[in-house]
């Protein structure tokens, strides 16, 4: 509950010349976000039953207020039109804004009045006027501490004042944050003051420590720490990182918090951040050259736009001019791009040395491969990468720290066996330490989370799907182009950017409901099995030139039109649809043929 509730007069400022009048009462439209957050009185206002008599009295009262309000606004618009910048205008806008603090035009008029005053008033006089304005704003804030406009006007005043007193503002922020430690407007204003007054981040970090020590459950303070820590204790080796000793102290602070109140989410979110996620650099992760298609496919670690990237293809020392495009031919950001060689440039009887480079902010990155004489294809990829990448997504901290954290979280889990936050942290830490050895244990924990926290059951099932895919990719034999993800209870498919070279993909016997994911990233794919799922749509099955057979038996495809995306895979000749609702629709075969003209064999019989 808001601390200002029902106590408007409690902080009534005496200096204020614009004594708040009860004449205008706020309207009862509640706009919680956007420009306006209506006064606390109205937000969360209970509907109360009233008698006809009361209603009539209220109506009369409102009618009276309204006519006064409208007279005042009418007068102000008139005055503004005549460029009258005087005390009356200041007084009247003040009266309106005190009760309708998001009336933008009135604040603007007020700013114009101040600007006009500058022309014929002394610096001392202006200082006094601005001081009065600050008092007025303080009154507004006390009745409506979450008004965007009021805080914004305060910034404006401070920047216009001849002698702004930033220390006083800092105290004011402290005071307001005592009343409501989560008021993000006030936190933002504090950051504005800190910037203007050049307050060092060390001091602010101390402020946030004090706030957290008095109440761990203060998400705003934890957030602030995440911004300050890399400034105060930078890690020389990686940007945005935090130096080790400081990091260990933070872990201790977070632990103190979640051992004190294991259900408070603030510290847990912060803890997850401390474990860190490495920012990957741009690189060409994989290159595949295909002679029959006269093209190469490049997979990048980060998205890029073909039209905006500086990409170069060099063959046997010579720059080749060809065409880069995305798998779908769209002008979108993608991780997979295709380069079409000019005709006859891949000579069949000689080794071809191919080198692709990309200009990035951090310099040139590249990858090369040699297409042997007579060979139809060749690839080159980062072999150390997949394992490291999945791990670093979870953690950059040293393994001794992770081990220690795991022990504390397990301890907490023993004390509070039903605490979901502790279990989730145990899971993430185990993943970071050794995903393969801990596989069974993590999956059991995720099952437990699903039953403890059923609202988020689909989050947890997607999480375990991701873990299983990561482990399978990590464990797949070097050189194999078959990926078997069948029978794992998958509810989603992630990490397609690690599957560029996959030729056969088995997704059968899972719990997938769509194939809307960009399967087109798998440009080498020839065979796709996805039997026995709950698939209704396949929007991502497009533009795979080598795809020859698709099996979607026992799914939930209801209409032939749902298969339309496959039309762009011109090589698909074998399609299995048995056990889908669409099979029992009238004219099933002819419908399929009209949507997918390239099909030659449907459900085992020739067309």
């Amino acid at each position: 509950m808001d601390v200002f509730d029902g106590t408007y007069g409690m902080y009534n400022s005496k200096q204020n010349t614009n004594t708040p009048l009860k004449k205008f009462v706020v309207p009862s439209i509640k706009v919680c976000f956007w420009r306006i957050r209506k006064q606390w009185k109205m937000h969360g206002r209970l509907k109360v039953k009233t008698t006809a008599e009361q209603q009539e009295a209220k109506r009369k009262e409102r009618e009276e207020k309204l006519s006064k309000y409208q007279a005042a606004t009418g007068r102000l618009f008139e005055k503004r039109k005549n460029a009258e910048h005087d005390g009356e205008a200041l007084d009247l806008t003040g009266r309106i804004l005190a009760h309708n603090s998001d009336f933008l035009t009135m604040w603007n008029y007020r700013k114009e009045i101040f600007q006009a005053f500058h022309k014929d008033k002394s610096s001392d006089e202006m200082q006094q006027l601005y001081q009065d304005e600050l008092s007025f704003l303080e009154t507004c804030l006390k009745s409506n501490p979450k008004s965007y406009s009021v805080w914004e006007h305060r910034c404006w005043v401070m920047d216009c004042m001849p002698q702004p007193n930033w220390q006083r503002e800092l105290l004011l922020c402290g005071k307001f944050l005592e009343y409501d430690e989560r008021n993000f407007h006030c936190w933002d204003y504090r950051r504005f003051v800190v910037r203007r007054a050049n307050i060092p981040p060390q001091e602010e970090l101390k402020f946030s420590t004090d706030k957290i020590s008095s109440n761990f459950s203060n998400y705003s303070s934890w957030h602030y720490r995440s911004k300050l820590l890399p400034l105060v204790h930078p890690d020389m080796e990686q940007p945005q990182g935090v130096e080790e000793t400081a990091l260990l102290q933070e872990h201790e602070l977070a632990q103190n918090a979640f051992f004190t109140d294991p259900n408070d989410q603030s510290a847990w979110f912060y803890h997850r951040w401390l474990l860190g996620r490495a920012e990957r650099d741009q690189s060409i992760r994989c290159l595949h050259v295909c002679r029959p298609l006269n093209r190469l496919v490049a997979t990048f670690s980060k998205h890029l736009k073909a039209s905006a990237a500086t990409l170069n293809v060099v063959k046997d020392g010579e720059v080749i001019t060809g065409r880069w495009h995305t798998p779908r031919g769209t002008d979108t950001f993608e991780q997979v791009l295709i380069f079409e060689f000019p005709e006859h440039s891949l000579t069949p009887d000689r080794d071809q040395h191919i080198h692709v480079t990309l200009d990035t902010e951090a310099g040139l990155v590249g990858r090369e491969c040699v297409l042997g004489a007579g060979h139809p294809e060749v690839f080159s990829r980062d072999i150390t990468e997949s394992q490291e990448l999945f791990r670093s997504e979870l953690s950059v901290a040293k393994s001794s720290v992770l081990q220690q954290e795991l022990e504390s979280c397990q301890q907490l889990h023993e004390l509070e066996p039903d605490n979901k936050w502790a279990i989730l942290s145990v899971v993430l830490l185990m993943r970071a330490i050794d995903p393969i050895t801990y596989q069974e244990q993590t999956l059991q924990y995720v099952d437990k989370l699903t039953s403890l926290d059923s609202y988020r059951r689909n989050y947890y099932s997607d999480l375990s799907s991701r873990f299983l895919i990561e482990n399978t990719v990590m464990q797949s034999e070097e050189g194999t182009n078959k990926l078997d993800l069948s029978g794992k209870g998958l509810t989603c498919v992630r990490h397609l950017d690690h599957m560029t070279l996959v030729v056969q993909l088995d997704l059968s016997n899972n719990r997938l409901t769509t194939l809307d994911i960009p399967v087109y990233m798998l440009q080498c794919l020839k065979l796709l099995l996805a039997d026995n799922n709950n698939i209704e749509s396949i929007a991502g099955l497009t533009n795979m030139p080598l795809l020859g057979r698709v099996s979607l038996r026992n799914n939930r495809i209801a209409k032939a039109q749902a298969l339309a995306p496959l039309a762009s895979c011109t090589n698909v000749s074998v399609l299995d649809l048995e056990g889908n609702p669409v099979c029992s629709t009238e004219g099933f075969k002819s419908d399929i043929v009209s949507v997918l003209q390239q099909i030659k064999v449907l459900d085992g019989s020739k067309i």
Partner: protein
């Protein structure tokens, strides 16, 4: 020692069916009582209010009950010489109302009633060297305005009028440790701002910048035992925040991470059976703002009685199809 969870309880007699016609009546009546106290007192946000009401009516399939000509004339009268729109006639121009104006005119297919070129100029002139956007000439910076700018230009087919790359860099500089976004660099994550920033990235085709699994986790943790969603940790649930969170989840392909049935129950419980309309929480006073976001939320949850809403622009999908506007979202 454990802090109590901030939440509400849904009364047993709370409504559990969608009172479609009552809501349409509520909105139609709200717009008709031009001398009404509340109506007059909210003049300072009129264009946005009209957008909330008209979009609600369109989603309910009853837009024809509203007076098109009167609306279009009013919107046109709110345009200034600089190209911007004020909330009402004579009110100062601001990006917030530029977006509302464009949304209303798009609903009515009436963009020719205003000076579009001037409007594009107004929007692009508000972009700053760091890529951010002022809300108006007075210089407030906020990621809400970045969203307003690109949403506006996207609807006008004029996205190239601004420096999208710089605008993107500014929005990304507002990303936080939890994967969310705030008003300005350094500001705490807030689901309203997250909606704006994720919406910005959707409009500009750059959703890959979002860490969908991290942000999705934070967003789905907004769901409270009552089924409603809050806007930040340790806050009360609210119908409008339910929309900001739900729409953001939809954009990043993670809508299924919350319990849809529980949220539907919460939203439906916020209806007023007597007057129509939705409140922020069960038993509170209703208003057009929460009514739109209640209806739009139900649409995203799959309600078949209302039109399908677009999660990025909060407009009916059929309207966007008509103008051939397609925004790609992340798949799940």
């Amino acid at each position: 020692m454990s802090a109590p969870v901030k939440d509400v309880t849904i009364p047993e007699d709370a409504p559990s069916d969608l009172l479609l016609n009552k809501h349409a009546d509520f909105i139609a009546l709200y717009g008709a009582k031009k001398d009404d106290y509340e109506y007059c007192m909210t003049e300072y946000l009129r264009l946005s209010g009209m957008y909330w009401g008209l979009t609600t009516m369109d989603l309910l399939g009853q837009l024809e009950r509203m007076d098109r000509q009167q609306v279009v004339e009013f919107v046109a009268a709110c345009q200034h010489d600089c190209g911007g729109f004020g909330a009402s006639v004579g009110h100062d121009p601001h990006l917030l109302y530029a977006l509302s104006a464009v949304q209303i005119l798009t609903l009515y297919d009436a963009l020719d009633a205003v000076n579009v070129d001037k409007l594009v100029e107004f929007v692009s002139n508000l972009q700053q060297p760091d890529g951010s956007f002022y809300g108006d000439k007075w210089g407030e910076v906020d990621t809400r305005f970045s969203f307003c700018a690109v949403a506006c230009l996207k609807l006008l087919g004029k996205l190239s009028a601004i420096d999208v790359e710089k605008a993107t860099n500014f929005v990304l500089s507002c990303m936080n440790f939890d994967g969310g976004f705030g008003c300005r660099p350094g500001s705490e994550s807030h689901s309203g701002q997250i909606y704006c920033c994720v919406g910005f990235l959707a409009v500009t085709g750059q959703l890959h910048h979002v860490n969908a699994d991290l942000l999705g986790w934070w967003l789905c943790e907004r769901q409270l035992p009552s089924g409603g969603l809050n806007g930040r940790p340790e806050k009360l649930p609210d119908v409008c925040y339910s929309w900001w969170v739900l729409a953001s989840l939809k954009m990043i392909g993670r809508l299924h991470w919350i319990d849809k049935d529980k949220l539907r129950t919460f939203i439906l419980a916020c209806q007023d059976e007597e007057t129509g309309g939705f409140a922020d929480r069960p038993g509170d006073m209703v208003d057009p703002f929460h009514t739109l976001f209640g209806i739009a939320g139900l649409s995203l949850l799959g309600a078949t009685e209302v039109k399908t809403v677009n999660p990025v622009l909060c407009m009916p999908e059929d309207t966007l199809r008509r103008i051939n506007l397609h925004i790609e979202l992340l798949s799940s």
